[in-house]
């Protein structure tokens, strides 16, 4: 029963949502979907509590057992506790809470995102090494596209911007659409597997 109940709940919910989406039940349908969204949100908040417990247990364990680099766990725990206290006392839209959000959390987030620029270079270096035919095609396409996008490209090779445009619009778009089409239909099929209970590994019981 422990394994069957989640499967049953998933099937009922899925058929309910599908009916609401596919058939026009007017305002009743819209209200039902809205209600389902609230239920999802409530479930999500409970799950967040589990996440916080796991986070605390892991980092407390690191500190208590003095595992390597345990100091970072102290920082993580202090950051979490302080943020919770400030948000509870000051409110979600309080001055200090918003300051911390915008000037600490957002900035750190942006810094990590900025790493992408550097990693693009190292990934490009590794992938453009001429090791096989595929890498060769990638290299030639990339060089052509870079020249096509740069203003100097047309000055060196007149008409190269047209070549770049063609690469982007024809082979690139065709490939992307093919992948999107396959992935879209694959997602439908995967959902049906879950709805029908054929895919059960997420319950921990294997397929």
């Amino acid at each position: 029963m422990r394994r069957q109940l989640p499967l049953l709940l998933v099937a009922i919910t899925a058929f309910f949502v599908m009916a609401m989406k596919f058939f026009n039940f007017g305002e009743v349908g819209a209200a039902a979907i809205q209600e389902a969204d609230i239920w999802i949100q409530v479930t999500y908040e409970f799950a967040f509590l589990l996440g916080a417990i796991n986070f605390t247990r892991l980092h407390y364990g690191n500190v208590a057992r003095k595992r390597p680099k345990w100091v970072y766990s102290v920082v993580a725990l202090i950051a979490m506790v302080l943020t919770c206290i400030i948000t509870l006392v000051d409110g979600v839209n309080g001055e200090i809470a918003v300051f911390l959000y915008e000037n600490v959390a957002n900035r750190i987030d942006s810094a990590i995102y900025a790493l992408l620029g550097f990693y693009v270079c190292s990934a490009a270096y590794r992938s453009f090494k001429l090791k096989n035919l595929e890498a060769g095609i990638l290299l030639v396409s990339a060089v052509l596209l870079m020249l096509a996008q740069a203003p100097i490209g047309d000055a060196i090779f007149p008409g190269i911007s047209k070549v770049g445009e063609w690469i982007l619009n024809v082979p690139n778009s065709a490939g992307m659409r093919g992948i999107r089409l396959g992935a879209g239909i694959g997602a439908y099929a995967a959902s049906i597997r879950v709805i029908l209970g054929l895919e059960r590994s997420w319950t921990g019981s294997g397929s």
């Binding site: 599908m18 596919f22 058939f23 026009n24 039940f25 007017g26 305002e27 009743v28 349908g29 479930t43 999500y44 799950a47 967040f48 589990l50 996440g51 796991n54 986070f55 892991l58 364990g61 390597p68 680099k69 970072y72 959390a105 750190i108 987030d109 942006s110 990590i112 995102y113 790493l115 992408l116 990693y119 693009v120 990934a123 590794r126 992938s127 990638l138 992948i179 089409l181 396959g182 992935a183 239909i185 694959g186 997602a187 439908y188 099929a189 995967a190 959902s191 049906i192 597997r193 879950v194 029908l196 054929l198 895919e199 590994s201 997420w202 319950t203 921990g204 019981s205 294997g206 397929s207």
Partner: protein, 272 residues
């Protein structure tokens, strides 16, 4: 009472279908019919076509073997999405990898971004250790909810790569802008990497940084491929039949557009 309300609210005639959902309904209904057909074939013991060899999935055993030989952990993440088709596919692969890791006695670190995924991932891994007959080897501290923030999660996993030096990194699910940052960090830590993604704007980052990449729909074939269950394989066959039908429509549209100069008639028909 509810049914009466529904009947009163529903527009009359063909508009009973929600606008622009007719063909979606046909697609889903066709898939259901084909899946049931394939299940019947599988139950009757009739032959089901095989799935072609997928290098990325074959390489999972290699990655696990490498980690075991080196005595290092493996890192697994089911992606950034919440519950959805990609997440279920990622969790199916997690189930397989966890069983193998439990059998090989290899430490497995699982990181999740979504709090609701964490207990599910923990249950999958715990069950895998139970099935392998080694429940004592299951360590709940290895299944980690990291952060809901996209780049906080990224930074934390990069830290895990640096501190715990996993021998293999499996990123199976839906990935966004963090795809390249994580895959590059994994490559720099010397991991053998297997990536899977359905996000067409990020797949190429996995292709250039990972040793093996599951592209798009290959992710959804993973559970059938790994379990070798004929019923699951049947659903992949059903999916391929629908894909072929859609492909035929694309070809018809292309011919119409080339010969008559416009495929607007077909587009209007499919926009019903």
């Amino acid at each position: 009472m509810t049914l009466t309300l529904l009947a009163e609210e529903a527009p009359k005639g063909i508009l009973f279908f929600a606008p622009e959902m007719f063909w979606d309904f046909i697609l889903i209904a066709s898939l259901f019919v084909l899946v049931f057909w394939m299940i019947q074939r599988a139950r009757a013991g009739l032959p089901i076509p095989q799935i072609r060899r997928i290098a990325g999935l074959e390489a999972i055993d290699e990655a696990l073997g490498r980690a075991t030989e080196m005595g290092k952990p493996i890192h697994f993440s089911p992606g950034m999405s919440t519950f959805g088709s990609e997440m279920y596919a990622g969790l199916a692969v997690l189930s397989y990898v966890a069983k193998m890791a439990a059998q090989y006695d290899t430490k497995m670190i699982v990181t999740t971004r979504r709090p609701q995924i964490h207990p599910v991932a923990a249950e999958i891994v715990k069950q895998a250790y139970l099935e392998a007959g080694r429940p004592d080897a299951y360590n709940p501290d290895d299944i980690r909810f990291v952060s809901e923030w996209q780049f906080s999660y990224t930074a934390a996993v990069m830290g895990i790569f640096q501190r715990e030096q996993p021998a293999a990194n499996l990123m199976i699910g839906y990935w966004m802008a963090e795809a390249l940052v994580l895959a590059e960090a994994g490559a720099q830590a010397g991991c053998i990497q297997i990536g899977a993604n359905t996000n067409i704007f990020q797949i190429h980052f996995f292709i250039v940084t990972c040793d093996y990449t599951l592209i798009g729909e290959e992710l959804f074939a993973a559970s059938a491929y790994l379990s070798k269950d004929p019923m699951l394989t049947g659903t992949v066959v059903a999916q391929d039949i629908v894909k072929m039908a859609v492909g035929i429509l694309v070809v018809i549209g292309t011919i119409l557009a080339t010969v008559t100069g416009s495929a607007q008639g077909l587009i209007d028909f499919l926009s019903l």
